[in-house]
């Protein structure tokens, strides 16, 4: 799984994660403690839904930087909620927990949500077998995936 990039200089930080996102959350927590940053963390265990998370992020003061390691489907909705709550793009960092990803097929541009645990994954539109890269587009909210024959 990817790790968060600690962006220094924000007034405070909010970290939200679920059980599968515990690893990047722990690594970020270390950075926040080492930097002496003001932060709050929320564990989104079972029963914690989008409504609860949205209320939490909306109640934060201006200048808060939001880090979330949650399941892919939830992150998509959270991105919209965060933008509506006034977070700037550079104040948001998301990592999908677990192995489900939104993937962007480089060949037909179709976006599918796929379990990436057992590569290669197959594009549900053109049927190509794809290798998922670490390159993620915030605009498409998806990871780039390229035909495995290209490697």
């Amino acid at each position: 799984m990817n790790s968060f990039h600690f962006a220094a200089g924000h007034l405070r930080y909010l970290l939200i994660f679920d059980s599968k996102g515990a690893e990047p959350a722990a690594s970020l927590r270390n950075s926040l403690i080492n930097e002496g940053a003001e932060f709050k963390e929320l564990y989104a265990g079972s029963g914690r839904d989008l409504k609860w998370i949205s209320e939490e992020i909306s109640s934060q003061k201006n200048g808060t930087c939001l880090y979330a390691a949650l399941e892919t489907g939830l992150l998509e909705k959270l991105e919209t909620a965060a933008v509506c709550a006034g977070y700037l793009p550079e104040e948001i960092q998301f990592i999908p927990s677990g192995s489900r990803r939104r993937i962007f097929c480089a060949h037909c541009h179709h976006i599918s949500i796929t379990d990436c645990e057992n590569p290669p994954v197959q594009c549900s539109s053109c049927g190509r077998y794809l290798k998922v890269s670490g390159s993620r587009s915030g605009y498409w909210q998806a990871y780039l995936a390229v035909d495995r024959e290209a490697f």
Partner: protein, 309 residues
């Protein structure tokens, strides 16, 4: 080597280097018109007709900047060749007369995707970048000949993130320095840089979308055919800050030169630069797959060309 080919190395260069090597080109146009004009324009038009969604993309907030970029590009066509191009500017638009193609096009100020219209008349790939949140974003493009990337995937992406896969890009803060350079770009002083790589075959369309088609050529390189097959692929990249909208117009003109066309000192120079290139860059530029036959070809050519001692 054709006189119009932008040879990318200075006379002294002997090693590969990471740097922001852009230089000012005050007074120069954002485009060139050379003897491949008709051929390349017709190829571009064929590609965009067949694959519109991969060759043109834009975000709606770029319409004003697209118009400014299109008008600048049309004016520069006229500057380059008054015999072949002329422009009529009216309130709210302009008309470009192109006598090479025997065509005329009108672009209205609030008509939307003006870059799509002017892109049909230039050999260059055209990209518009806009600035927000202290970063530069790629927000529109008419791109037919990308070197291994996807316009569609990169749409709306910040500059630093687009270049994340480039090995060495963050080396000694190079990425931050280039971002700072772009943000400081002034309308009075456009810049140019030459970006080079090697490619197997002369195909201009090296889009990520079609990678499985063009990458096969790399397997076919041999010491006997490398001189004709392997090309020095050079992108002449130009950066213009648009004074009204403050967007950045980034134009890319892709040129090829077969290795057989290089004379002895240039072959020797290329050989030394390739020898000094880090493994990850060789892999990124796609050279590792035919490194052995290429090296053998270059060594043979160096043996033949060397003065007897």
């Amino acid at each position: 080597m054709k006189s119009s080919f932008p040879y990318p190395f200075s006379k002294e260069q002997r090693t590969y280097s990471y740097s922001n090597d852009a230089y000012p080109i005050t007074g120069k146009p954002c485009i060139e018109v050379n003897d491949s004009y008709i051929e390349e324009i017709s190829y571009k038009r064929q590609l965009i007709k067949e694959q519109p969604g991969r060759c043109f993309r834009s975000l709606p907030h770029t319409h004003e900047a697209q118009y400014e970029a299109a008008k600048l590009t049309a004016e520069h066509l006229v500057n380059v060749s008054e015999e072949e191009f002329s422009i009529d500017v009216t309130t709210g638009g302009f008309t470009l007369y192109n006598s090479i193609l025997n065509e005329q096009v009108s672009v209205e100020e609030f008509s939307g995707d003006a870059l799509r219209v002017i892109g049909d008349h230039v050999q260059e790939d055209l990209i518009l970048m806009t600035e927000r949140d202290q970063d530069i974003y790629m927000d529109a493009g008419y791109v037919c000949f990308p070197a291994g990337w996807s316009l569609t995937f990169n749409l709306g992406m910040p500059f630093l993130q687009i270049h994340e896969p480039v090995p060495g890009f963050t080396h000694q803060g190079l990425d931050r320095r280039i971002l700072r350079f772009l943000r400081g770009l002034h309308a009075d002083t456009p810049y140019e840089r030459l970006n080079w790589s090697l490619s197997a075959g002369r195909r201009l369309d090296h889009s990520l979308e079609t990678i499985t088609e063009w990458k096969r050529e790399r397997q076919l390189v041999s010491p006997d055919n490398a001189g004709n097959k392997v090309q020095l692929r050079v992108e002449r990249q130009r950066l213009f800050r648009l004074p009204e909208t403050q967007a950045i117009l980034f134009t890319i003109h892709t040129h090829h030169c077969a290795l057989d066309e290089l004379d002895y000192p240039l072959v020797e120079q290329l050989y030394k630069i390739l020898e000094s290139m880090p493994r990850d860059i060789l892999k990124y530029k796609g050279v590792s797959e035919y490194e052995e036959p290429l090296k053998e070809y270059l060594e043979r050519k160096l043996d033949y060309g060397r003065e007897p001692s």
